[in-house]
């Protein structure tokens, strides 16, 4: 019993809700990578150990596995704070914004940077709960300023929108270069 107590003392730490889930997932990921070490790396012939392509990935995954195991051990022996699945749900809620961001990424080459950015900022602002005209106007202004500064002024590499091709002659080239 005394040994068990000493063991607990050694590895006990503060943990937040969801810590155990993360620790298990990380260790499982590290174990999977470790199982793939032979498959996904090559042991080169007539090559010294320090030049082997498998050396550093090996160091990485073995380190992940060993430290991950100790981290999980620490999680198991530390006092639990309630709210594990609420926390996991919180992580999963990020998927919604991942989806919005992905749609934005797809839209930019089609609609063009300026229009897509205005749509994105306005939509996100409303989704975040700001429905008043001041917030919406701020979002649109932010979208316009961002697009003009980065694409128009700083000439950051973002492709022109497909839709710009259908613009009248006078505006088309301007939109393709600056908007």
């Amino acid at each position: 019993m005394a040994k068990l107590k000493m063991f607990q003392d050694l590895f006990q730490r503060y943990r937040r809700p969801g810590d155990l889930v993360f620790a298990v997932l990380f260790l499982a990921f590290a174990a999977f990578l470790l199982s793939q070490l032979g498959e996904q790396t090559v042991i080169a012939k007539r090559t010294k150990w320090y030049s082997q392509p498998a050396l550093w990935p090996g160091i990485g995954v073995v380190g992940m596995f060993v430290f991950g195991a100790f981290h999980l051990l620490g999680s198991l022996v530390s006092p639990r704070i309630a709210g594990r699945w609420t926390e996991v749900l919180f992580w999963l809620r990020a998927a919604e914004y991942v989806l919005y961001f992905f749609i934005y990424v797809v839209l930019v080459p089609q609609l063009g940077y300026l229009p897509s950015t205005i749509v994105f900022t306005l939509f996100l602002t409303m989704r975040a709960g700001f429905r008043g005209w001041k917030a919406c106007l701020s979002a649109v202004l932010f979208g316009i300023v961002t697009a003009l500064i980065f694409r128009g002024f700083l000439q950051v590499k973002i492709p022109a929108g497909e839709i710009y091709q259908y613009l009248p002659d006078g505006i088309r080239s301007f939109a393709m270069i600056y908007l």
């Binding site: 503060y14 080169a44 380190g63 530390s78 961001f101 900022t121 973002i158 492709p159």
Partner: protein, 508 residues
């Protein structure tokens, strides 16, 4: 002297000056916004500087790097919310001073202490330059390998109570660096026959995901919070006079900041801890610490601002970053075709001097800006957090997509964004991943080069600097083990049941 004049000539261009001005003021504003750190801003803006002249792009990002902590002190003092994680200690004494009605005194003192610490550390850099120029060429492959290893080791053991987590994340960084085509034999490593994995993970994409996109997700999902309204009135100049009375603490704290900044993997938190402890132990009124002590405030601010400039020492001289921000600055240097390392001091000392002078100018610009615009910054800070999340996510797109117009990069960045969100929610450190990626790459290359000239294992540490570094590695390990044993014996280890909100593991 010629080098100094040559350095001045590099700086004396209108575009460099404009970049410095925008970077410095932008950095203060970014630092003042709780939830947005310099790492996020540098990651977003880096691709935007690709087309600039190297010195212009560098001064812009250097401005953000060096000035954000100034801004971070304002919300720390006035609304008890640190603008950047390293300003957390500033809340201990700054906010109680505000509650006593001494907000303007605290802010003024923080500005002047930061200015003192900032200029002090750059002067140390300038004084040390000849020594660095002399010593840097003595760093061969094995010395750089050992220094990088020391950096990884320090970043792991510096996370007390989270050593295993920091270790596994550092190794994750080392692993991530190896994914893709191996550069010598051109064999695939962990690509799973996926073409998008063949080029590996770009550091900027990973950094943007872990720092910026994760923060955007966090702000958008969490309940909206608008920082409370605050104003300051009164002379901002009073801090200069008051600092003269606390100059011993300011000097020692700045020196500790310089010393800790120079050691890879240590950084602001340790510098602050040491300087705060020193200030409290040597104070005539130690009971005031944590309750609004001007000495505590000076110790915290002078130490944290001294670190970034000092962290440039291993970065510029050896090409070894000490923490996440310097790891990003290393990328900034590479992107702008400036390769930090011994050769930089040998061939481009005037360029290095220009960077130092830019850092001094930056401190002057920031101080002047802050003396007249604190209330303006307090109004900017009123941006609701969810709106801020929207802004960060929109800007992150530029950082990721403009690298190579790749939707795959965006998906990878989003993946790291979700991973960063989980780490932030669990208060697990992100910095070891970044250092693992950067230092892992350095170690792989340097070990390969070094071993070619090594016949027996002892040869590896036979040169004086290598031997010193090896002894330092052993010392760090022994001291860490000793601390663990002592903590276990006295049962004074980190409190296993928290709360841990007073010390964040996040940086940048």
């Amino acid at each position: 002297m010629d080098t100094l004049i040559s350095g001045l000539a590099i700086l004396a261009h209108w575009d460099v000056m404009v970049a410095l001005l925008i970077g410095s003021i932008g950095g203060v504003i970014i630092g003042a916004l709780p939830g947005v750190g310099p790492a996020i801003a540098i990651a977003i803006l880096l691709p935007a500087t690709f087309s600039f002249e190297p010195i212009v792009g560098l001064t812009l990002l250097l401005g953000i790097y060096g000035s954000s902590m100034y801004g971070g002190a304002i919300p720390a003092i006035l609304i008890n919310t640190p603008g950047t994680p390293v300003n957390a200690l500033t809340t201990y004494d700054g906010y109680p001073m505000t509650k006593r009605g001494e907000g303007h005194r605290a802010v003024s003192l923080a500005y002047t202490a930061s200015f003192f610490g900032g200029v002090f550390s750059i002067l140390c850099l300038i004084v040390l330059s000849p020594l660095l120029a002399w010593i840097a060429p003595h760093f061969g492959s094995r010395e750089i390998f050992l220094a990088a290893f020391l950096g990884i080791l320090l970043v792991v053991v510096a996370h007390r109570g989270q050593t295993f987590a920091a270790g596994m994340l550092a190794f994750l960084g080392i692993f991530l660096n190896t994914v893709g085509l191996e550069p010598v034999k051109y064999t695939k490593r962990y690509t799973f026959d996926q073409s998008w994995l063949a080029s590996g993970f770009d550091l900027i994409v990973v950094v943007l995901g872990l720092f910026a996109i994760s923060q955007a997700f966090l702000l958008l999902i969490e309940r909206d919070h608008t920082p409370e309204r605050a104003t300051v009135s009164g002379s901002m100049m009073s801090g200069f006079k008051e600092l003269l009375g606390i100059k011993r603490i300011a000097t020692v704290s700045s020196s500790l900041g310089v010393l800790m900044g120079m050691i890879p993997g240590v950084g602001e938190f340790t510098a602050q801890f040491l300087s705060y402890t020193y200030a409290q132990k040597s104070s005539k009124t130690p009971e005031l610490f944590g309750k609004g002590s001007p000495e505590g405030l000076v110790a915290s601010e002078a130490a944290n601002i001294a670190v970034p400039a000092a962290a440039m020492i291993p970065l510029l001289a050896l090409g070894i970053p000490g923490e996440a921000l310097t790891a990003m600055m290393l990328t900034v240097f590479y992107v702008h075709n400036v390769i930090p390392g011994p050769q930089l001091f040998a061939d481009q000392l005037d360029f290095v001097m220009a960077l130092y002078m830019a850092l001094i100018l930056l401190n002057v610009i920031v101080l002047v800006f802050l003396l007249f615009s604190t209330n303006l910054l307090l109004r900017i800070m009123q941006i609701p957090t969810r709106f801020l999340g929207m802004m960060i996510l929109t800007l992150s797109f530029i950082g990721v997509y403009s690298l190579r117009n790749s939707a795959t990069d965006c998906v990878i960045a989003m993946g790291f964004g979700v991973f960063g969100l989980i780490l932030k929610r669990l208060n697990l450190p992100i910095v070891p991943i970044i250092l693992g990626i950067v230092l892992g790459g350095i170690m792989e290359v340097k070990l390969r080069t070094a071993m070619a000239a090594v016949k027996t294992p002892l040869d590896f540490v036979s040169r004086p600097i290598a031997a010193i570094l090896f002894v330092m590695i052993l010392l760090v390990l022994i001291l860490h083990l000793r601390t663990l044993i002592r903590e276990h014996k006295t049962k004074q280890g980190p409190d296993p049941i928290g709360p841990d909100h007073e010390h964040s593991s996040q940086q940048g």
